[in-house]
Amino acid sequence: MALTRRSLLRRGAAGLLAICCSNRSKARTGIGGVFDMVVAENPGSGTGKEIPSGDEITLGVSAAFSGPSRGLGRELYRGAKAYFDHVNENSLLGHRITLKLYDDGYQPDPCVRNTMKLMLEDRVFLLFGYVGTPTVTRVLPLLKKFQNERVYLFFPFTGAQPQREPPYGEFAFNLRASYRQETSGLVENFVRVGRKRIAVFYQADAYGRSGWAGVRAALGEHGGQFVGEATYRRGQRFTSSMRAQVEILKATSPDAVICIGSYAACAAFARDAVDLDLRVPIANLSFVGSENLLQLLTQDREDPDSYTRLLVNSQVVPSYEDLSIPAVREYRQLMARYDPQVPADLAQEPYQPFPQSFVSLEGFLNAKLMTEILRRLGEDRGRAKLEEAVFSVQDFDLGIGEMVSFGPNRRQGLQTVYYTIVRDGRFVTLDDWESWLG
């Protein structure tokens, strides 16, 4: 067949589409053909009964350990590692749990490559603790492609819908509440206190679109729509200017802005909004990494509250300051005891970890539930029984006051969304929206 530019373009396009839409017949003629080739070179694959070797269970992680969002990957890892260290040290599972880590810098293509490596070369038992929507949404078709392997993705740090719905929902298990729930709660509260003119600032990718869709749907339930929208490219740093975005939204006279982004970009937006006199509540989702955001907005400031007075962040785990919660006490104790650090080869860029954070608490809870599922898997540690083990989790108490249950039509463990504002340089729970915005 003559190889023209057009035919090449069509083949590439067909492959891209096939990955996105799991159209396998098209994939074989396009990019998907590459995956077929890799499988053929690994004849042991496809059994669905891979058993961890020796006394170790290896979980594969691809997350942002570098780049502007490195705080998320590192904190999530630290929280999970604290609990796994506890499990290993006290032989709570009978087997050691190890993590095979790769850095994707919060970029989709490296994440796909890392996942291929984890599945086909490292042959990890399952995938765990991935970070981000644009990364995870690109990995999901891979899981479907290798569905005979039964490699599941556990507890990704994203609240997007693709890993909660067909056609990929069956390959992932989520613990945290969804972005749809977070945005719905934010809109609900804003509308309740009379702030109906809501604008959206979001990352121009699948994550941003997921949150955008959540806000749109929530406002639609109230018979409205957002008054303005502005976007930014993934990977922006705090030093980036968001003045153009602020100007776009300011022109629409919003009562509140909901941000769906990473901490560096959202902090830059909050800073520029205040500087350009857009003084309305600015809400961020849990993915933002509240402590990282707060640090950027308060460090080296004469008035540390100047940029944070109108911040409200939704969270999917309770406050790590609330010592009445058993899991929080356990988390703080184990974080202090083990103080896990990211391996040196993944920690090239400078980063000062937080003693406690919402992100590391989420990682901790992820690890705790993962351990429980592996415990339920018992000695027959084949992947084929993994789903069954997950579905056996019914009304399980993680120690945060909300029972966790899974089932074929319930692939998300927690449903609660919490709201926090900044007081005295730290995030505290917001219970009374009227008083706050009164």
């Binding site: 057009r6 819908q161 869709a213």
Partner: protein, 247 residues
């Protein structure tokens, strides 16, 4: 002595001929490459829009806008494509790749139009935008914007490469022609020198004349003929002229 006058017009003629060939070939090349590549880029853009439209149906019906965004984000990485946006059947923007916001030129356009449109968006550049309906338009429309600057650059590069090749051939052709003309002119120059010397002193022969007289081409024939003629006419005098040697 050089034969400048005889070959000056020849050189000019060769140069003019080659110049005309280069000019006409270049113009034809520019027209052909520009037309065909422009058509191909537009066609590719249309194919991409069609591909996205075909694959968006299930995603749209499932209201999975994150997957839709992920889909168009992958296509916008293809070189030349600067923006993609998808509108619903009611004209609402469901997914797009614009930063920091949707330009006014796009907001003010007909969201259901699928005809190719040339756009100039301040701060972004010039684009050719192609649309493709999703599910015959009842589920929305995909719009793909191809950067005309990049397309123009690619076309200019393709044309430039061809013009450079033709120009190199021109230079080589002219140099070769000059060399070939000089190759013919050199023995003629020698013949002229010889003729002048023989006319001045028919008895004087040198080694250089031997080389000329032993040539087996037309120049050698002319030299021998000239020697023969000058030897038999040494006593000939022009009527009314003083007694002297020819010429």
């Amino acid at each position: 002595m050089k034969i400048e006058k005889l070959f000056q017009k020849t050189r000019f003629g060769i140069f003019a001929l080659f110049g005309m060939i280069v000019l006409s070939t270049s113009l034809l090349c520019i027209y052909t490459v520009d037309t065909q590549l422009s058509s191909e880029y537009e066609s590719n853009t249309r194919n991409i829009a069609q591909s996205i439209a075909d694959s968006s149906v299930d995603i749209l019906l499932n209201r999975n806008l994150a997957s839709l965004q992920s889909l168009i984000d992958q296509f916008v990485e293809i070189q030349g494509i600067r923006y993609i946006y998808i509108t619903s059947e009611r004209g609402e923007f469901l997914a797009h790749t614009f930063v920091p916001g949707i330009p006014r030129e796009i907001l003010g356009s007909d969201p259901s139009s699928t005809e190719p449109v040339e756009r100039r968006i301040p701060g972004m550049g010039d684009f050719i935008e192609v649309g493709s309906p999703i599910l015959a338009g009842v589920a929305g429309t995909v719009h793909v914007g191809m950067d005309m600057d990049i397309v123009a650059l690619k076309i200019q590069r393709a044309i430039g490469q061809q013009v450079i090749l033709i120009s190199i051939l021109l230079v080589l052709g002219v140099l070769a022609s000059i060399w070939l003309v000089n190759l013919a002119a050199k023995p003629l120059g020698g013949l002229l020198d010889y003729a002048v010397r023989v006319a001045a002193d028919p008895e004087k022969d040198g080694a250089s004349e031997d080389e000329l007289l032993t040539r087996d081409d037309e120049v050698g024939d002319l030299a021998r003929l000239f020697r023969y003629v000058s030897g038999h006419s040494s006593g000939w005098k022009k009527p009314g002229a003083p007694t002297t040697r020819a010429p």
